[in-house]
């Protein structure tokens, strides 16, 4: 791993001059590196990192972190196994990096809404999560704003209405879809510009269910904040809770018992299986093949029930805690899981055999919704979506946490980037997770499941691979309470990929493309 950190340090040396660097780089608690930049260093640093194929995986703002300025912007870069965080202290304005790192566009708009920071030269200055009905100059993440009920605008001036990209031309017309959809799904608006049935352009608008999670967590004790982390996105409960606990444990130097890590890993993989099974079923529903879909829906439901048996919660909530687990899972119950896993694998294979031998299904999946591999880095697309487009990204392999160093998952990778690749990748990952769980159950040691947890002040960044991809979590604890909790789920970045994936496809194929990417609305809108 030391070798890989060098990539970051080497890059930093190159743009700062070798002499000044080593002492300026500050190692974080979780093997990430921080570098506080001076004003004039920011732009050369960013363009240097862009040239060296660093990926901007997150950008968030913290108020009151440094004495030098009101706000500190944390630019989190990743390259292979290295994480480099550039800290840029700003007061009210800074320059935008969105034209260098396209993934920064949403990040910057998010910081602008939350903290009122202006990004000079940004190509998109529309509001992001604060829709038109919120008052002007309202920035909820500022410390000066106290969490309280808010009076929103009753009427919206037509001038202030959200401006969608205008697409004009002969025969181009707009199809607005949502935010209220048929079926039980979350709200999101899709603005299609189509020529006949062919999608010419798609613009998405999210953030219809802002819950103020980041504000809510401020001032909470780390222990209470786990429940908030679990609520970020329902079917990523374990991943987000693990990411949060991991950050807190690293800050405080708590090492958790081995058995707890085994159980956590089993839960993480179970969560992945549930999510992927739901995706397989959903994709088949969307091409109207209920015979295949119902098999996977049934398996998913049984998987949820198994989770309930294991942990007392269908979404495995309320069990992960700082320092390990709230309660142990007895050996007998784990043996039941083993039997279930073996049965699940068999039935999953049967289902896949039926689906993959149905030509009409393959015909609908193949070549539909292609995400080109060239988009992965600029937009920071992660998870199965990236792996189906030839991406080599998996947090479990790139930044192993817990016992993933010992139990290395297979690196799944396909090149085509269409719905069929995503279906196949998810099916393979289910099989891998089943194998992994079986192996973990065989090797699970006895012992404690919770170690003494004395939470200390500090900050740390953690990465966890959820079913949807790379989930990032930043925690800053001050005086024993959460001062800043920032989550960036995989969906936040992956959403933008759908605008590219649907281009040139036909409107009736949109639902299956959308489902194949399985994006979380709640995980995007905190």
């Amino acid at each position: 791993m030391a070798n890989n950190i060098d990539i970051g340090i080497r890059a930093v040396c190159e743009f700062l001059g070798a002499a000044s660097t080593p002492d300026r780089i500050q190692a974080g608690c979780n093997s990430e590196n921080y570098l506080v930049l001076k004003d004039h260093e920011f732009e050369p640093a960013v363009s240097h990192l862009a040239a060296n194929k660093f990926v901007l995986i997150s950008l968030f703002c913290i108020e009151g972190f440094s004495d030098r300025a009101a706000h500190s912007l944390f630019y989190v870069f990743e390259r292979r196994n290295g994480i480099l965080v550039l800290v840029n202290d700003v007061n009210e304005t800074t320059s935008s990096v969105a034209s260098i790192f396209p993934s920064a566009s949403w990040f910057e708009r998010e910081c602008r809404d939350g903290f009122g920071i202006e990004f000079d030269g940004a190509f998109d200055t529309r509001r992001l999560f604060l829709h038109e009905s919120y008052p002007e100059n309202f920035h909820p993440l500022k410390k000066s704003f106290k969490n309280a009920p808010l009076i929103t605008k009753e009427t919206i001036n037509p001038v202030d209405e959200y401006q969608f990209r205008t697409v004009t031309g002969e025969g181009v017309y707009q199809v607005p879809v949502g935010p209220v959809h048929a079926g039980i799904i979350e709200p999101g608006h899709f603005r299609f510009s189509v020529i006949g049935e062919i999608i010419f352009n798609l613009e998405i608008r999210m953030f219809y269910k802002h819950r103020g999670i980041e504000k809510l967590s401020e001032g909470k004790s780390p222990h209470d904040c786990i429940r908030i982390a679990e609520a970020v996105s329902g079917d990523e409960s374990v991943a987000n809770a693990t990411a949060f606990c991991l950050a807190v444990e690293r800050i405080s130097g708590i090492s958790i018992p081995e058995r707890a890590w085994y159980l956590r890993t089993i839960m993480l993989e179970l969560e992945r299986i549930c999510s992927h099974l739901g995706d397989l079923a959903g994709m088949l529903v969307d091409v109207a093949f209920p015979l295949g879909a119902s098999q996977f829906s049934v398996l998913r439901e049984e998987c949820f029930r198994q989770c309930d048996c294991q942990t007392g919660s269908r979404f495995q909530r309320g069990i992960i805690c700082i320092g390990g687990l709230e309660k142990d899972i007895p050996g007998g119950t784990i043996n039941d899981l083993l039997l279930f896993i073996r049965q699940l694998r068999k039935r999953c294979r049967i289902g896949l055999k039926i689906v993959l031998s149905t030509t009409s299904v393959i015909d609908r999946f193949a070549t539909t919704g292609v995400i080109p591999g060239t988009l992965l880095r600029p937009l920071n697309i992660t998870g199965p979506v990236a792996r189906a487009s030839g991406g080599k990204v998996d947090v479990r392999l790139d930044h192993p946490y817990g016992i993933y160093e010992k139990y290395v998952p297979k690196r799944q990778r396909l090149q085509d980037g269409d719905v069929l690749s995503r279906f196949t990748i998810k099916a393979s990952e289910i099989m891998d997770s089943l194998d992994l769980i079986e192996q973990l159950i065989a090797d699970i040691p006895a012992g404690d499941i919770q170690s003494e947890a004395q939470v200390q002040d500090g900050f740390a960044l953690s990465l966890v691979e959820s079913a949807r991809g790379q989930n990032l979590c930043f925690v800053w604890i001050k005086d024993g309470a959460i001062e800043r909790y920032k989550v960036r789920t995989a969906s936040f970045c992956n959403w933008l990929a759908i605008e590219h994936a649907v281009q040139g496809n036909i409107i009736p194929d949109f639902p299956v493309i959308n489902k194949s990417m399985n994006l979380s609305y709640a995980g995007t809108d905190l």
């Binding site: 049935e197 093949f289 209920p290 098999q295 149905t358 009409s360």
Partner: protein, 312 residues
């Protein structure tokens, strides 16, 4: 018009209205079984229609008179078309009733108004549904004409009444019947918007064709539209059944004869409903632009029948 024919009108219309919801439910039931579910009761469609009939009708403020008259025109033209296909009893044909070309265009009339109503409310989904329906019907129409032309060649008549009562000389051979049934089955699937053309059970507005057009309908009007769709399904099923297996069809008006005919029709219809359900379960919906390949199959088989009939 004789008494027999007036009785025929009453009996045929009553039977089709009574049986149509049952066949719709049966397809759903068998589809549920293939998925390992128990599915809704076979009487569920009756209950849903009754519920819709008692609900209020809501019109979009941007809709015109088209929206208001469409449900009536649709059910009316479908019910008239239902008269063209004797389900249980074949009287002497009167006037143009039973003419296969007229039958075809009665279905087209209903579809035309449905498409207009889809556009009328100005919602994007209705417009998409209408545009798709019109594209499909433009492609399927030549195929339908060829299929019906093949029927006319085989049975040597243009009248459905004469076809089912086998009045014309020279009964068709079994291989011809098989080819006809394949063509008619495809027409049935297309006309009633089922998988692989359209998915009648979908909630995804973006993929809808038939459901998209009636998305803005509500209450009583929706009930009429749903009933019209069910009647259309039953009539086309009846056409297929009575052309291929006219067994049990009453030719004279006796109570016993009618009862036996009704029972036999329900049995034959249930079997066909099961076949439709299994056919639907065995495949996914086709990509929109690949639909013509399915129509081409019906076109091919019908052309084959015509060639056989002409040269044999």
């Amino acid at each position: 018009m004789n008494v027999d024919f007036i009785l025929y009108i009453a009996i045929n219309t009553l039977v089709v209205l009574a049986i149509a919801p049952l066949f719709v439910s049966m397809i759903k039931k068998v589809k549920a079984w293939t998925q390992g579910r128990s599915g809704p009761s076979v009487f569920q469609t009756y209950a849903s229609l009754r519920k819709l009939l008692t609900k209020e009708v809501i019109y979009s403020p941007s809709s015109s008179r088209i929206m208001r008259i469409t449900p009536l025109i649709t059910i009316a033209s479908i019910l008239v078309a239902a008269l063209f296909v004797p389900l249980i009893f074949v009287p002497e044909p009167v006037g143009g009733i039973g003419n296969i070309i007229l039958f075809l265009y009665l279905l087209a009339l209903a579809r035309f108004f449905m498409a207009l109503a889809g556009l009328d409310a100005g919602s994007s989904f209705g417009g998409m549904g209408s545009s798709r329906e019109m594209s499909i019907s433009a492609i399927i129409e030549p195929t339908t004409i060829i299929v019906f032309a093949a029927l006319a060649f085989v049975f040597k008549t243009l009248n459905i009444f004469d076809m089912v009562s086998r009045m014309a000389p020279g009964l068709p051979a079994a291989p011809t019947l098989i080819l006809i049934s394949i063509s008619l089955f495809i027409i049935l699937i297309v006309e009633t918007s089922r998988i692989p053309i359209d998915n009648p059970e979908t909630h995804l507005e973006l993929t809808m064709i038939h459901e998209g057009m009636i998305l803005e309908q509500s209450g009583r009007n929706l009930a009429l539209m749903e009933l019209a769709a069910a009647v259309k399904l039953t009539v086309l099923m009846g056409l297929l059944i009575n052309l291929i297996v006219p067994l049990g069809l009453a030719t004279s008006l006796t109570l016993i004869g009618i009862l036996i005919a009704v029972i036999l029709f329900v049995i034959k219809g249930s079997i066909l409903a099961g076949i439709i359900a299994i056919f639907e379960s065995s495949m996914a919906k086709k990509r929109f632009f690949q639909l013509p390949s399915l129509f081409a199959m019906a076109f091919f088989f019908s052309t084959l029948i015509i060639i056989i009939e002409v040269f044999s």
